[in-house]
Amino acid sequence: MKRRKSGSIGVVIGDGMLRAAQHVDGRLVSASVPADDNLDNLKKSMRQLLSAAPFSGRDVVLGLEGSSVLVESLVVPAHQAKSVKSFCADRLKGDPLFDNTKAVHGVSTGSVKSDQGRGATLAVMAAINSERLDTIIRTCREMELVVLSVEAAPLAAWRAWSGEGAQARFLRSEKGDVVLAGQDDQLLFCRVVPGAISLAELSTTLSRATALLGAQELDRLEATGLSEADMQILSGDLGMNVSSPSEEMSDAATAGLAAEGSPLIDFTPPEERVLREKRRVRKMRIGITGVATAMVAAIAIMGQQQIGGLVDERIALAARVDQIRDTRTQLEALQNEVSVQLANESVINEARPGHNMSTLFQLVSRAATAAISFETIQCEDRPDPSVPIDQRDDGPIRRMLEIQLNGLAANGIAVRDYADVLLSTKAFTDVRVESSERVLLGAGTEGERFRIYARAETR
């Protein structure tokens, strides 16, 4: 659904009539309803008014006209220029409706260039009856309308359309006539006349306005509420060009209230300003909170998505890492097995004796002739004593076979011959006859008892 672009609703509360206008999508929407003079029925009338046309929003700019409003243009003497407000209040002192105690006063001042007001201040004074203002404000609160400002409706009519230079405007309605004059966008003169103003009075009023504004001559009067024929008559009578404003304008007061711009005199009660400020703060807070919440929610959602992605990634990585760990464990076990197998292979290569004991025994036994008889043979396979003990665990150990042969021989020559045969086999690095002595064997037989030491290197 397309959101409509709309401004605030300008509402004029007059005697026996409520009127409203609002710029919606560049078009001025307006409505009017009759209002009971009894203010208790104001709420009902306001509801009828706001439902009488397609108004949008709850922001309203109120304009009061009729008996509850007083508007006057004054020339304040120079000596009282600094206290314009009290000067105006003094003028209304004792007034049954607009006395200081019964009405809210407001003043707008402007500079005067005319000879008539030289050295004086030109002021537009307005007063609104307090009781009526309170009732209207209370009604608006009960209807939950946001009152942006409260003005005197005739003064707000100046904003209905814009112009340049010194201008004069004449607004006619059923309740009365209004004469406005000002420079550019600034309203400097206003006269409200209940009922229809006479031609002579209008002429006098325009002359006074011309004089106050210091304009050379106002040659043009923009008027609303008049027919073409009336405008032509008025033009002839006043001797000046009377025309409608460039924009079509049926109700200048509501159009002025609905238009953007600062009120000339704002009668908004202080408590309503506070409320308005509070509403503004609340609106801004809601807006900021909404934006911040949306941003935080968006970031949180993105964060959660990122977390979800990271969790998935972590799960996948953890599974892969677990797999790698398992493989690593298996690898370590395999490495251990391989190292064991390698160690075994190394042992097979290195721990096998570098000799055959059978061959050695055959060499020892077969080298013996009939002249040699062994009593004991002792063979020891032991590490080479020349290798330090602390180096015996490094690789293949150099070992040696030590052989002790004890026995009897026919004679010493047989012993020597046997030792020579052993040595000649080249299986032994050392063969020594450690002892050889002549012994009596009994029955008159002699023999040679011997002890031979032989050594063979191996691994």
Partner: protein, 174 residues
């Protein structure tokens, strides 16, 4: 309080609230990113494990084939293998014509560079019997070593005392 101050206070409150919501998420994201980075690093360092494993399996298979092709092996270090070897040893003694007098086995394997288990055999017989025994011992598939050999005169035959070691398989770390 002015409008700007209200907005500032609201902004501060929202900032604190946002921080309360977002910081735990930020912390969790940072923690997860750290874990993922750590896991990625671990995965990176372990990338070559599969290839290493395959290569080592091939090496192991080659090694096993090589060892299986050898003439000699190491005796498994378990009671059953020890018992079988002892039986085989006594069978060799008997087949050689030697008379077994006494057989003694070392209580535990001996450590060091080459782990081995010792047997002490006391037998009786002639030199030829001993020769046959030694030849047959050197022909069996296990790596053995005669550590000492002593031949003494006996009552009728020579008494032979032998100390024989058989090399045992290396035990792994696991």
């Amino acid at each position: 309080m002015k409008f700007g101050a209200h907005i500032a206070v609201t902004g501060m409150a929202l900032a604190v609230a946002s921080a309360g919501v977002l910081f735990p998420i930020y912390d969790e994201v940072a923690e997860l990113e750290g874990e993922v980075t750590s896991l990625e690093a671990e995965q990176g360092t372990g990338g070559a494990v599969d290839a290493q494993y395959m290569q080592l399996q091939t090496e192991k298979r080659d090694l096993e084939e090589r060892i299986a092709g050898r003439q000699f092996r190491l005796l498994p270090d378990n009671q059953e293998a020890h018992h079988n070897f002892e039986t085989r040893l006594l069978q060799l003694v008997a087949d050689s014509g030697l008379n077994s007098v006494r057989t003694g086995r070392g209580k535990d394997p001996i450590g060091g560079l080459y782990r081995h288990l010792d047997w002490e055999l006391v037998v009786e017989g002639a030199a030829g019997d001993l020769d046959r025994f030694l030849i047959s011992l050197e022909s069996i598939e296990w790596v053995t070593r005669v550590q000492s050999l002593q031949v003494e005169p006996g009552d009728e035959m020579r008494r032979i005392t032998m100390k024989i070691a058989v090399m045992l398989e290396t035990k792994g770390n696991a």
